[in-house]
């Protein structure tokens, strides 16, 4: 299992578009990716509406948990995705 945290800089938080892109990117990986908000609410990164349902706002820090498959590569891919899109 690998974990990293990321603080959202997109002023609207994780809205529909980044959530959709995230789902697409996460589906392409061979690992399971879960994102968790402070307080424990979590959603699978592949689930667009569940991720939107977390209502993550700008400035909030979320934790990415990567399990199974090539965790190293998946974590790196997710980190890069965050920087580019959220």
């Amino acid at each position: 299992m690998k974990q990293f945290t990321y603080t959202i800089t997109d002023p609207v938080g994780i809205h529909a578009r980044p959530a959709g892109l995230l789902a697409k990117a996460a589906k392409a990986l061979d690992s399971t990716v879960t994102i968790t908000k402070a307080g424990g609410k979590a959603a699978a990164a592949t689930k667009l509406m569940a991720v939107m349902g977390l209502g993550v706002k700008t400035g909030e820090t979320i934790t990415f948990t990567i399990e199974g498959g090539n965790e190293e590569a998946s974590a790196a891919a997710m980190e890069q995705f965050c920087k580019d899109n959220m």
Binding site: A16, A23, K24, A50, G55, K57
Partner: protein, 544 residues
Amino acid sequence: MQVATGKSILNGIAIGPLRIYKQVETQTSQISSITPEEEYARFDAARVKAQEQLGGLYDKALDEVGEENASIFEIHQMMLDDDDYLDAVKGIIDTQGATAEYAVSTTGENFAAAFADMEDEYMRARAADVKDISRRVVNVLLGKGDEEMMDDQPAILVADDLTPSETVQLDKSKLLGFITRHGSSNSHTAILARTMNIPALVGVDFQDDWDGKLAVIDGYNHCVYIEPAQELLSAMEEKRANDIKQEALLQSLKKKPNITLDGKEIKVYANIGNAGDVGLVLQNDAQGIGLFRSEFIYLDSKDYPSEDQQFMLYKRVVETMAGKKVIIRTLDIGADKQADYFELDREENPALGYRAIRICLTRKEVFKTQLRAILRASAFGTVSIMFPMIISVREVRDAKEILEECRAELQERGVAMGRVEIGVMIETPAAVVIADELAEEVEFFSLGTNDLTQYTLAIDRQNPKLDNFYDSHHPAVLRMIRHTIEAGHRHGCWVGICGELGADQTLTETFLRMGVDELSVSPSSVLPLRKIIRSLDLSKVEKA
């Protein structure tokens, strides 16, 4: 004649017969007569078909309203790939022996309800999206094409609500305008209507017997007239003809620079009094917003508007302007503009009283709420702040210091912000006289000629008895303007005019000769002004 009111999406006039569209309640049977596997296969095929349709809509929207607005259809496609959505549909089919149609519409309702409960306004608006995609899949399942909402005659469409996809699919050559009972001015449908330049009203409590009647949407006054009296109809036709003339002028002057025959270029911006005016700013091809009167947010509110409320409004304006400059004037309340919850005392002499920056500097929390909202919006485009009613250097320094406090607070919260240019309104004789010192503190000046004239001439413009004494071209005012422009330029400030005089076409040449950098006028004055500027030749000796 009947009049109904609503929220206007676009300042425009539409005249034509009303056509009421009722969404046909789709009758779906609940219990399936085939196996769950077969039902799910039906659903899956319909889902893929719906995604293809959405792909087509994306391309159409891309053409008509641009990528930013079209992306909603891309998101709709992605929603139909969502695992939870698919699982929910499958669950209903499997456990209830339901038809695919029933499973999809139930899932759509459930997801929409979950979004509608969220605290975030943006997320709440997503409920309509989930319903929209579910309806599309059900229609495919039932073998129905997209419903024909209009017949062959051009008309004003009336409906309970319009989904984004319905809005994009409408035949624009027949759609004169539309009226809906539901929907917010923030919805995707509203944004699309604005971008497509279609007069529209939302939140109208319409009646079924309106169908077929002649009506006028008056977007300027947020209302619709049903079977208008001849006199009103003529007035509206004239207004519409004016809009069309303006449009023709726009077509001939669009994208052309505001440049004189001898090559001097100046900026022409627009003044706006509320967020809904942004459409007009873009329609009239203004290069920016030179005066965003932020007080409407306070005047339209029953209590102090929160930072988030203000942020959403500023952001919408800044985003819509897409990188063009937006100059937000901080709260200018007091005098003739009153909001009860401010609990301002009655004054003998309100024009000279407790107002604008004087309120802001003494009620610091009110001021900071607004400044934080503006700073947050600055991440989305090009934002400038200007402070009104300045009479001293100390006031400017205090205001800047408070602005810096706000910036530091937001930085601590990890909020993104852009660079914000700072300026002051020059609208008191005191500010003109000390313009050199003020210019050292800021990056631009904007001359508020209405107050400057009133304070310089000591004439109350509301008093009709004084009309004989009032001279808007009084040499004292013109000299003050010249002095301000020169002082600003000595210290590297650009100088604009945002008061009524800026639109006075008999003074345009004078202002240009004084070296003014920008004129900010009402949106409808932008193009006439451009026409004048393009006909001037400053290299010739001034006419006597």
